[in-house]
Symmetry: C2
Subunit: 361 residues, 2 copies
């Protein structure tokens, strides 16, 4: 019973070999394909759940499970801890992804979920934007310039011919440093400008919001004059009562949830009546004509995360690992030659009281 | 960000060094202590949840999470696949346990959950039996003689002076082979007899049921004349409508759930009115006088599994690993020197389109 581990250095080797652009392009392609082929009668996705806390700092640790035909189950365990960068020099989002053979319970693989989450969240915004934004979008606005903003820029830049990036963050240096952090993949001709929020909102063709705004403290910008065709990817959702988008903009826009059962709990959709919510991204990918008439109006993609994205992305990275010959195999589970002997994995002499403790309860 | 792995060979090294008896004794002691100190306002335990399926075979894969003060969260992912032994030469229950720093989301450790689950399930039955069974119990009855029966026998033998073990299984050879599988830890003077079910039920002081009875196909024995002080540990529960104990015996017994919110869904308690259910095992450990008058009547411990048991047992095994100097540390999460750069973990040259794919969606 072998378990394959893909560690941080393995992911580094994969990225060095394949390249960030090729990985992102392939991830966008695969997520689009998975949405197109998604059949809820065959693929089981649960609303994420786990632990949420406010002491000593706001945070959550949640499980995102999906089971697919053929008997594989992917479970991501993801933490959102906005104090991580300041207190621990760690990213806000840390995650680990475990892949099980759901027909036996065997842990088939374990892989970092941190790069994977940034990648698939951004790739999903790219999928949404290709269906909802103007094909001629040239100006991207980034509200909240932490780690996820870099991945969002990367993904959007792969499917639109961007000319400029407008950045805004409560911490001005963070808005100013996006260009440096994006230099690994961005064309040198791409113009970066750190701008006041109203200018960003008024000018951008596509806006991505990825903030750590506090619960009940949203929205992160005011509605106002925007491009008539503005498309927003709202990706910061992770907690009930956390929201980023002004209600007025939601109400005048086509709002597209990623996972309606979940966006109703913790996405922008939690503030909307069902009648105000449009088709889901999966419905749109499966029937693009649903939004053919909405291309020129404002649209909002309400992205809370869908475990199928994790499954697809883990499978992609495991494939790269096999091709590159990286990864380690270990034997995790204590199994025995006799499946009915729970101690059959140990040596013959392991019984007996080696220590002199006794239960004494 | 180091993650400690305790693999099957590490657990083997721990058991060889510490000994099965000492591990079991210490586990019984620690679970008892954890129950005694349990404070639901500080420790969060969720009812397990996940995927259940009947095709191609009955099975489930579920998550059992617990978060304890100080910010550690233990999440066991456990599979119950009764076709495993026959189809795959694997135990019915396979599990993996992940320990997180819940304040950062970092995966601190990963350990086999298969031996751990057998161990803690049995140790918890021992805790229940010390409070509910006759202290003079000499005869243990095992109904269902798969892997868990061996661990149950081991745990009960550590806290009672057993003279004989009566075994019953639908597969007679399995009932007959318990003695051989238990020889690692059992006194040679312990008598084993494979007996008809009515004889077992009529004679035993303590019965443990650990069967893979089908959903809706219980109970696994008929009520009848029993020892007046009979105590039953019903540990086979894992699915709604799966039950092992005859309703008449439940109704005339003190029924003690491990985790009332969960036993109501998938334990023996799912067939009882709340008024017919006694205090929980944790309440009894915290107030033993609650059951002082019940020692001579029939009692049933309804054991569905409580994630705190997993947490305690994982901590115990990680301690042994540290003492023994076994285990491997790896770097799982892709973190960067700059926590706001999701790609900062890769080499400088990793950008650019190394492959000529394009999203083309």
């Amino acid at each position: 019973m072998r378990t394959t581990l893909i560690t941080a250095s393995d992911v580094r080797a994969i990225v060095d070999r394949v390249g960030l652009d090729a990985i992102m392009d392939e991830n966008i392609r695969r997520i689009h394909e998975a949405f197109r082929d998604y059949d809820p009668s065959r693929v089981q996705v649960s609303v994420r759940d786990g632990f949420r806390y406010t002491y000593p700092h706001v945070g959550l640790l949640e499980m995102m499970p999906v089971r697919v035909p053929g008997g594989a189950a992917t479970i991501k365990i993801v933490g959102y801890h906005p104090a991580n960068p300041k207190l621990r020099d760690l990213p806000t989002i840390l995650a680990t992804v475990a892949v099980f053979e759901a027909e036996s319970g065997h842990l088939a693989g374990l892989i970092d979920g941190t790069f994977l989450t940034a990648l698939r969240t951004a790739a999903t915004s790219a999928v949404a934007s290709t269906h909802l934004a103007s094909p001629r979008s040239e100006t991207l606005g980034l509200i909240g310039c932490g780690g996820q903003s870099v991945a969002q820029l990367h993904a959007i830049s792969r499917v639109f011919d961007l000319k400029r990036v407008l950045t805004y963050d409560l911490v001005p240096e963070r808005a100013a440093s996006v260009a440096a952090r994006a230099s690994r993949f961005c064309s040198p001709s791409l113009e970066f400008r750190s701008v006041p929020l109203p200018e960003l909102v008024a000018t951008a063709d596509i806006i991505c919001t990825q903030t750590s705004v506090g619960v009940g403290e949203g929205p992160v910008f005011e509605d106002g004059v925007t491009q008539p065709h503005l498309h927003v990817n709202a990706v910061g959702a992770d907690l009930p009562n956390k929201f980023e988008i002004p209600l007025a903009l939601l109400k005048r826009s086509l709002v597209v949830p990623d996972f309606p059962a979940q966006t109703a709990l913790e996405g922008e959709c939690q503030r909307l009546d069902p009648a105000d919510i449009g088709p889901s991204l999966i419905e749109i990918v499966q029937n693009p004509e649903l939004v053919a008439a909405d291309r020129d109006r404002t649209t909002v993609f309400d992205s809370t995360g869908f475990a199928l994205e994790d499954h697809v992305t883990a499978a992609q990275l495991f494939e790269y690992a096999r091709e590159a010959g990286v990864g380690t195999t270990i034997e995790m589970e204590c199994t025995s030659p006799d499946p009915f002997d729970p101690y059959g994995f140990v040596g013959r002499g392991a019984g007996g009281s080696k220590r002199t403790t006794s239960p004494n309860i």
